[in-house]
């Protein structure tokens, strides 16, 4: 029993909990709570823009004076930011695309053949990885990726897709069930093949859920630390989060450099989120409801 999407939509658009005056008291309490969320970002921000001398005593409350980009310049060169950024983008792009395509195709095959044992059991089989923590597989995967020549970003992207399969297939099969079958059937009447029907008709209809699957795959892949740090052999091909750990010893007590580096690593995802927050929020909520 999955809740119909339309209902949540309606509720979200109308003012929830009835009409009446908006409460300032609740708003103020929430605003206060939000400082807890924002505080670490403030610390990172204020430390990153300090000069070396200002940063050395680790005082985070006062804003930088004068403002300086010295930390950014140093962090950029030290961590070879463009390279790490490119690796992160590569892994995330492959992982997101791969997750959406692989799980959409598998889910379509499963949901349209649910009456057949093979497809039904495949579904449970894929789902079984849902509660498999990465550490359990990590050591064997280090071995296997090494043997297969995949101890690199491509291997990490592949594993990201595999780890996202369970959850994504779950979302897609639930969505496919709620999809009206009329279009599909009329295409079939016209003699369209399964291949054609899927790519031209069903897959485009799956777009809203694909967005949800993509957002979750993005968050998992972009922010992952454990897997790239274990799997990728060449440290010059490490991702942004892992680079932060690798350079801990190099940052030493140059707090302005380390925080500039953290900020640069966080920035792409935060900016993307803030720009597309409405869309992301509805995607995430949809994932939550399913």
């Amino acid at each position: 029993m999955v809740l119909p999407e339309t209902r949540t939509r309606q509720n979200r658009d109308t003012s929830p909990r009835g009409e009446g005056k908006k409460r300032w008291s609740t708003t103020i309490v929430l605003l206060l709570c939000s400082t807890t969320v924002l505080f670490p970002f403030y610390v990172a921000f204020s430390m990153a823009f300090k000069t070396g001398e200002q940063a050395v005593d680790g005082e985070a409350f006062t804003l930088p004076s004068p403002w300086s980009v010295e930390g950014f310049v140093q962090a950029w060169a030290l961590t070879d930011y463009p390279r790490a950024f490119a690796v992160s983008v590569f892994i995330t792009a492959v992982a997101v695309t791969g997750t959406v395509l692989a799980s959409a195709m598998a889910s379509y095959a499963i949901s349209r053949n649910w009456d057949r044992k093979f497809f039904r059991w495949s579904f449970y089989y894929l789902l079984s990885a849902m509660f498999l923590p990465f550490p359990v597989l990590a050591l064997s995967q280090v071995k296997l990726t090494g043997m297969a020549g995949l101890a690199n970003p491509a291997g990490v992207a592949l594993l990201h897709v595999m780890f996202q399969l369970s959850f994504s297939t779950l979302l897609f099969t639930a969505f496919l069930r709620s999809l009206p079958h009329e279009l599909e059937e009329s295409a079939r009447m016209d003699g369209a093949s399964t291949w054609f029907t899927f790519w031209r008709i069903v897959f485009p209809l799956m777009a809203p859920m694909s967005a949800t699957v993509a957002i979750f795959a993005f968050l998992k892949s972009w922010n992952d630390f454990m897997m790239p740090s274990m799997i990728i052999e060449d440290s010059s091909l490490q991702t942004l989060p892992v680079i932060q750990e690798v350079f801990q010893t190099q940052f030493s007590n140059n707090y302005h450099v380390s925080f500039a580096s953290y900020l640069m690593a966080m920035a792409p995802a935060v900016i993307a989120y803030v720009i597309s927050q409405r869309w992301v929020m509805s995607g995430l909520t949809q994932g939550a409801v399913k």
Partner: protein, 428 residues
């Protein structure tokens, strides 16, 4: 390319995961070095060398080597891989140049390192250094590693502060305590400690106090002989043997600056360089860091006295770099060629000089760094020991135990755990 901060790798007694990551040092640099791979032709041979302070130095050495062997061999610098993963993946480096400690043992024990006995004559290793290798169980009938560089660590002290308070270098334990008390009365923090980085505790306070009090290799031999009989109540045990040295250690630790529990290696280097404390229990690798903050700071070094007999004093040494070639190396012949290049006196001696290490050859020259000369006489008469932290397998989180002791856990309980861990390992 100098490392500081949490888990600075070179002095790390064990090859922990943190160290492995830490040693990856500069990704930027790595890319530059990796980029060299496309340069010359010839057979590709990989050198695994990840001591961060020495990475640029070895980069230059490899360039020199590649120039000499243009067209036949091309050496690439592998600073990244962590060793366990490399071996697990089935592609270990062709030549390793790493810290020699208990971690190497499991490679050595299982025969994963090839025999280098034919190179021994050429390497001409001093007997007392070779003995350091033999403190660990070796693979029968094989010379698994060739030592390359030895580091000696003791107590760093600020000569200005000592002069200001008219203090002399202590040669006995009671003298040391007295000195600390004098400093404390004068309002100076006697010792700067950095408990937040566990390795600094084991490397400094723990290793110095244990090594200065007992014969570590003999103790470890006795423990090993016990086999599965080991335990807190066995005739030989950590609980029994280490108790007194570590109680003395805690007395010394009590002279640390306030808030030591939250300070890390990076903090310690900055504070000591700024003259915030009189002494600092760190190795020569920290000198490089301190130099960057205050190059002119007059620093001396003396061994931590743990007994009332001045002749007992010794310094903590470890084989900072040792060379080995895995059995599974894909290019063993070229690796040998590279190894011979590295051990040439005209290559090895300048390396040790530049990196504050002691040479390991019988005819190695003395150190030239003025501060390290304080230690030369100890090294010459082999008044040194390997830290106990080097002698324990990584599966026992010894560094963490050391941290626990100095941050207030019961010494007795920790030693008991250590004994039980050791016994359990012996039973496996």
């Amino acid at each position: 390319m100098i490392s500081a901060g949490r888990g600075a790798p070179s002095p790390l007694p064990r090859f922990s995961r943190r160290a492995a990551l830490g040693t990856m040092a500069g990704g930027a640099l790595a890319s530059v070095l990796a980029g060299c791979g496309s340069g010359g032709g010839g057979t590709r041979v990989s050198l695994h060398q990840s001591k961060p302070e020495a990475i640029p130095y070895f980069g230059d050495l490899l360039e020199q080597f590649n120039d000499e062997h243009r067209g036949s061999i091309h050496a690439v610098h592998d600073i990244s891989a962590n060793l366990s993963s490399g071996f697990a993946r089935g592609n270990p480096p062709d030549l390793g140049c790493l810290n020699y400690n208990f971690e190497m043992l499991r490679f050595q024990e299982r025969g994963a390192l090839s025999d280098l006995s034919d190179l021994e004559a050429e390497a001409n290793i001093a007997p007392e250094v070779r003995e350091l290798v033999e403190h660990f169980p070796t693979y029968p009938g094989r010379t698994s590693v060739i030592p390359y560089s030895m580091m000696a660590a003791a107590v760093l002290y600020n000569e200005e502060i000592f002069a200001e308070h008219d203090l002399e270098i202590p040669t006995t334990y009671s003298g040391f305590i007295e000195l600390c008390e004098t400093l404390q009365e004068a309002g100076v923090d006697p010792v700067y400690s950095t408990y937040a980085d566990a390795w600094t505790v084991s490397q400094g306070l723990i290793d110095y106090s244990v090594g200065g009090s007992i014969d570590v290799p003999a103790f470890m031999d006795e423990l090993r002989d016990l086999g599965p009989e080991a335990g807190p109540d066995a005739p030989v045990s950590f609980s029994d043997t280490l108790r007194e040295p570590l109680e003395k250690m805690l007395r010394i630790a009590s002279f640390s600056q306030p808030g030591a529990a939250a300070r890390n290696y990076g903090d310690g280097n900055v504070a000591f360089a700024r003259g915030e404390a009189a002494m600092y229990l760190q190795g020569p690798w920290a000198l490089t860091e301190i130099d960057r903050i205050d190059p002119g700071l007059p620093i001396g070094i003396f061994p931590l006295p743990m007994t009332e007999d001045p002749d007992d004093a010794g310094v903590r040494v470890h084989l900072d770099l040792a060379l080995w070639i895995p059995e599974a190396a894909s290019r063993p012949d070229e690796a040998r060629e590279l190894l011979r290049f590295l051990i040439r006196p005209e290559i090895a001696d300048p390396y040790n000089q530049a990196n504050l290490g002691f040479g390991v050859r019988e005819d190695a020259p003395d150190v030239t760094d003025a501060r390290l000369q304080d230690l030369q006489s100890y090294v010459d008469r082999a008044a040194f020991y390997q830290g106990i932290s080097q002698a324990l397998p990584g599966t026992i989180p010894f560094e963490n135990y050391c941290q626990a002791i100095v941050t207030g856990q019961s010494l007795e309980a920790v030693l008991r755990t250590l004994d039980e861990d050791w016994a359990r390992l012996a039973r496996r």
